[in-house]
Amino acid sequence: MNARTEEKIAVNVLRFSAFLAIMILLFIIVYVSYKGMGSLTPSFIFENPRDMGREGGIFSAIVSTLYLAVLSTLIATPLGVGTAIYLTEYTGESAVTKIVRFGSDCLAGVPSIIFGLFGFVLFVIYLKLGWCLLSGALTMTFMVLPTIIRTSEEAIKAVPYELREASYSLGATRWQTVTKIVLPEAVPGIITGVILGVGRSISETAAVIFTAGSALATPGSVLESGRTLAVHFYIIAREGISMEKAFATALVLIIFILTINVITYALMNRYISKKKA
């Protein structure tokens, strides 16, 4: 085989794999839309489920999902960004940094069901929180932390060293340098990590069933149990309660995640262009 044919084959194989990735996404979206569109009516969104989800809508599940996603993001973001700042700005490349980073990477590889079990034992049983959205959100916090730490770390490291030098040489402290110079530059990268985390807590099932439970009613507070969209989908599909409602739920879930992505990327672009302007 000569170099020219080799090149041709390589290009086509690469093109095919890139094409495949987008086709899988499109297939999923089209298939779920096709199956779910029929049941996706305004009343499906705004009514609570009746008869175990066979009838009615998914309003309570939407509320539970929002609670869980917002709460876990609110807890995980400061913890994750804080860890990233500590690792990049305060420790240098020491043994501590390596251990923390290794630990955080291992955490990322732990199966979600194990997080579920851990959250169940710690929050539901030991801390006596019971099955509730708070237990679920705290568990999800642990799950999304590694992602937020890693992406924030990369974003912070990408800020040019010269800017830190300039700040230090004017007599700024580390904290002043981090908050006034480094973080504003790193915000777009940090947000990427946070979105990935939000997506993960919206779509998680196993760990959430173990910790937040699967109550169908609209939760009044984070100390009540709630059933997120992903969990609702899992239960009504698995127990064969209603495939149509299950696909409609899945469609709402996908729209949720796509919307969050689109909005944050738009905000991010505005932030970046505003910084440049």
Partner: protein, 259 residues
Amino acid sequence: MSGATCDEGNIILKISNLDYYYGSFRALKSVCMDIVKNTIVALIGPSGCGKSTLLKTFDRMSDLVAGSRVEGEILYKGRNIFDPATDITLLRKQIGMVFQHPNPFALSLADNIKFGPRVHGERNAEKLDWLVESSLRAVGLWDHLKDRLDKKATELQADEQQRLCIARLIAVEPEVLLMDEPCSTLDPIATLNIEELMRELKKKYTIVTVTHNMQQAARVSDYSGFMLMGELIEYSKTSSIFSNPRDKRTDDYISGHYG
């Protein structure tokens, strides 16, 4: 070691037996030099001779290098800056640095200037505005840019950026300006402008500059120090070091035998 050739009362920085190590590598070897107030000192020498390292010890920016260690002392107005009691943020307010590559923050011109005073606790809006004007005037940017103070600093031309960095430094009201090859990324005309500015600034500040451009050292400085492999080989009045170097190695470098 070449000592001072000047009156003791006017010495603002007195460096004695300064050693600096990166790990086990001795980057500075028993450096001694006295720096006189309101003069321009140029440090010259081939790449890697330690001139930038020496400059960075003056405001302890050298501390930021992991695994570094310093021995000896630097007296700034009579007090050892390596004393554990030294307030490092105050030291860096008094002794500021301009870097090789202009490094303005991605903020507006005004916010760049206000950054330093703000981190040192200045909150008064009028005082801050006054500092913006006076600092920009001092570097000759005010007339040109006074209507565009909201403009992003990173959009200025390279020599304007470097001037802005000097203005940003002046705004914290320092006494010594350290300049690490401030013109190396500028074109010849911009370089002459910055040199002119340095001569102007000398009236109020003491300037220590690192340069690999010997013409620049000859044009702009009052004293010159020639460094080689971590040692300060010769340090004296610029006129005498260029016309009548005492050490053969200085002579060789100045006449272009190496470097």
